[in-house]
């Protein structure tokens, strides 16, 4: 039988594709499966350049920092917290674009459960903070 993404991931990607807000979608293993154009604008990279990618790979690609400028470990990222704890999480952090610009963002990550409670992955909506 052919492989197919779960319906929840398909619909999450469709939603992200239609949103003006930046949105990032990972599967249950943490593999990046999609981020949308508003996310590309903030991250400075296109999904075609980065994904699909394993968690370690995408996490390092965006040079995440705390708001004070300390490098964030993989375990501290909102999406990995949502994946691990299977709970929503909100956090302010910074990302580094390929040109070296540091952008402050706020991110809300949440786990994705299918109707019968199958854990399918997580998504994060994020936006750039003024100033």
């Amino acid at each position: 039988m052919q492989q197919q993404k779960s319906l929840v991931l398909i619909l999450a990607r469709d939603l992200a594709d239609k949103l003006a807000s930046a949105m990032f979608v990972v599967d249950a293993d943490g593999t990046l499966v999609y981020f949308n154009e508003p996310a590309e604008r903030i991250l400075g990279r296109s999904f075609a350049d980065v994904g699909p990618a394993a968690m370690q790979e995408w996490a390092s690609a965006f040079g995440p920092l705390t708001v004070e400028g300390r490098p964030l470990t993989l375990d501290e990222l909102p999406l990995t917290v949502a994946l691990r704890e299977r709970q929503p999480v909100h956090k302010q952090l910074a990302v580094t674009t390929p040109s070296g610009e540091v952008r402050q963002i706020a991110a809300t990550a949440f786990p994705l459960f299918a109707r019968t409670d199958e854990f399918e992955g997580a998504a994060a909506v994020f936006w750039e903070l003024e100033g």
Partner: protein, 277 residues
């Protein structure tokens, strides 16, 4: 095929060729068992046809609990026969089991008899996440894009595969021509099937006014069938407002879109028999 109409039964002179009963399919695998897919109003006639020759066990696969897929259940003779073991399979909701949801239909004022008072030996199963077997038939259910908990079914008997996705809107928010197949709802269920019965409720002109209703236009149905490389496509779940003549016009359009081997696409009709091979 005992019913292929969608949404609402539509008897009358305009629908005599393709039928007015809602979804119900009788499947006879190589081991002689009886598997019924969906229990729309067509299930009543199936029960009558089975008569005293019914098997001791019947398995009913429900795609979802919209009324056009279950309203024949209370009129399906074997559920009133205490010697019959009826297994019903279908998708649960996030908070309720399939049994609890079916019990809503089998309760006053919707129906005069409670589910627990049916005389047959009724066994109700939430569909498993993976593959399971009913006799020689391997079955897989997967959620598909339609409002409410809804699955499609892939039945495999030996090398022969039948896929049934009666209510499905794979093109919701997606251009089926531009996404990779593994991002298409229902892809894994349908891939390479010998026969695909698929929602084909709307014309291309009707669909824009019905986006999100959970059904497909002819163009979406044909695109889905081509993406999944099925061998034969059976247009199913006819709109109750579509007359026989309108369905035949839709078939002409579907054949244009299908391209080569136009005989591999057909309209479902009551009484239709398909050999899956």
């Amino acid at each position: 095929m005992w019913g292929c109409r969608g949404s609402l039964a539509a008897p009358g002179p305009e629908t005599v060729r393709y039928g007015g009963n809602t979804s119900c399919l009788e499947v006879r695998p190589s081991d002689g068992r009886l598997i019924v897919i969906d229990a729309g109003t067509g299930a009543r006639n199936l029960g009558i046809a089975l008569g005293k020759n019914r098997p001791d066990r019947i398995d009913i696969l429900l795609t979802h609990l919209h009324l056009d897929h279950i309203e024949g259940l209370g009129f399906f003779g074997p559920v009133w026969d205490e010697g019959c073991e009826v297994h019903i399979w279908g998708p649960p909701s996030p908070l309720r089991t399939l049994r609890e949801d079916i019990a809503k239909y089998f309760s006053p004022p919707l129906f005069p008899v409670h589910l627990d008072d049916l005389p047959s030996h009724l066994v109700i199963h939430d569909v498993p996440g993976g593959e399971w077997e009913i006799g020689a038939t391997k079955i897989r259910a997967q959620p598909v894009n339609h409002p409410g908990p809804t699955v499609g079914y892939r039945l495999q008997d030996g090398d022969n595969v039948l896929t049934y996705i009666s209510d499905h809107e794979p093109a919701l928010g997606v251009d089926l021509r531009s996404v990779t197949p593994d991002w298409v709802s229902g892809y894994a269920l349908a891939y390479g099937a010998d026969v695909l019965l698929h929602d084909s409720q709307y014309t291309e002109e009707e669909y824009p006014g019905r986006v999100g209703w959970g059904h497909s236009s002819i163009a979406h149905t044909v695109s889905f069938a081509l993406i999944t490389k099925v061998k034969r496509l059976v247009m199913f779940h006819h709109d109750p407002l579509h007359s026989d003549a309108q369905l035949e016009a839709m078939l002409v359009r579907a054949k244009e879109l299908w391209g080569e081997e136009p005989d591999d696409i057909v309209l479902s009709y009551e009484g239709m028999e398909i050999e899956v091979s």
